[in-house]
């Protein structure tokens, strides 16, 4: 079973290169930053963080696809990175949402503008 084989015909002159994927990942990352910086609800901020982590995963996988070792063998270190990022994202989402629910229990709000007890 050959991996990475393209089954379809090629289109002359057009191709999808690493830059395409990096730009897409960059756009999704910046949308994630916009969401994380500008939303009021803590859960919405968490959604932005998840988008950022997804963009990072895409970057890793794109680099793995388009690169190889010095001696010509292929390397899947990027995929291993992505496995760890997935793991950490899942763990962090669970704990962050548990904290959001806990904060809601005390203060009856998850509005980040109102959670300002530590302000000066």
């Amino acid at each position: 079973m050959s991996l990475f084989a393209s089954p379809l015909a090629t289109v002359d002159g057009l191709s999808v290169t690493l830059e395409h994927y990096l730009v897409v990942a960059g756009i999704v990352f910046s949308i994630g930053i916009a969401i994380a910086l500008s939303k009021r609800n803590a859960i919405a901020v968490l959604m932005g963080v998840e988008l950022m982590l997804n963009a990072v995963n895409l970057t890793f996988v794109a680099f793995t696809r388009f690169s190889e070792n010095a001696d010509g063998t292929s390397v899947l270190t990027g995929h291993v990175f992505v496995v760890f990022v997935l793991t950490v994202a899942a763990a962090e989402a669970a704990v962050a949402l548990a904290m959001a629910v806990l904060v809601y229990r005390r203060r009856e709000t998850v509005d980040l503008d109102r959670l300002n007890l530590l302000r000066w």
């Binding site: 191709s15 999808v16 500008s38 009021r40 997804n54 997935l86 806990l102």
Partner: protein, 174 residues
């Protein structure tokens, strides 16, 4: 990566992912935003498939679209008195401007730097059989320490999440 299928797939999936991400920012209802986030996750999984990362695509679907999305919906449901209109705080304009600047910088760097990437025939079939086997060997080989630490991290997160929301019989929270 010159085949018609991958090109069409990439543009379609990239459009879906970016559109869904913009929708997460723009819709007025928090639950609709979660649904669009799920669509973004699925689009990402499709992009992984165009990059021939089959294991990661399925893992992304399983973890993000299957589990984290359910977590998010549960969190939205367990906070009924919070405002769910996905409104923006005061920092929307600086945040948006910063995000735009960041996207421009990343796009500039991505396009201008010579990444020494593989092109054409060098992107053909590889010598190993499955990504799963390779990732598995790597996890139990060179990266075994990170693997073990990740399992401890998951255990800590599991126990932590349970302890955080646990209530005693008297109703005392953690």
């Amino acid at each position: 990566m010159e085949s018609l299928g991958i090109i069409a797939g990439f543009w379609l999936l990239a459009g879906v992912t970016i559109g869904a991400s913009l929708a997460v920012f723009a819709v007025r209802n928090l639950l609709h935003a979660v649904v669009f986030l799920i669509l973004a996750f699925v689009g990402m999984a499709g992009l992984f498939i165009t990059l021939s990362a089959d294991f990661l695509a399925v893992a992304q679907l399983l973890i993000y679209a299957g589990a984290i999305s359910v977590l998010l919906v549960f969190a939205v449901m367990l906070t009924p008195l919070a405002n769910r209109d996905n409104s923006n705080s005061l920092y929307v304009l600086p945040g948006g401007a910063f995000a735009l600047a960041f996207a421009t910088i990343i796009a500039f760097v991505a396009i201008e730097v010579d990444w020494h990437q593989l092109r054409g025939d060098a992107l053909g079939a590889r010598s190993f059989s499955t990504t799963v086997a390779e990732v598995g060997s790597a996890l139990l080989g060179p990266h075994v320490l990170a693997f073990e630490i990740a399992s401890v991290l998951l255990l800590a997160a599991l126990v932590g999440a349970i302890v955080l929301v646990h209530e005693d019989e008297t109703g005392e929270a953690a």
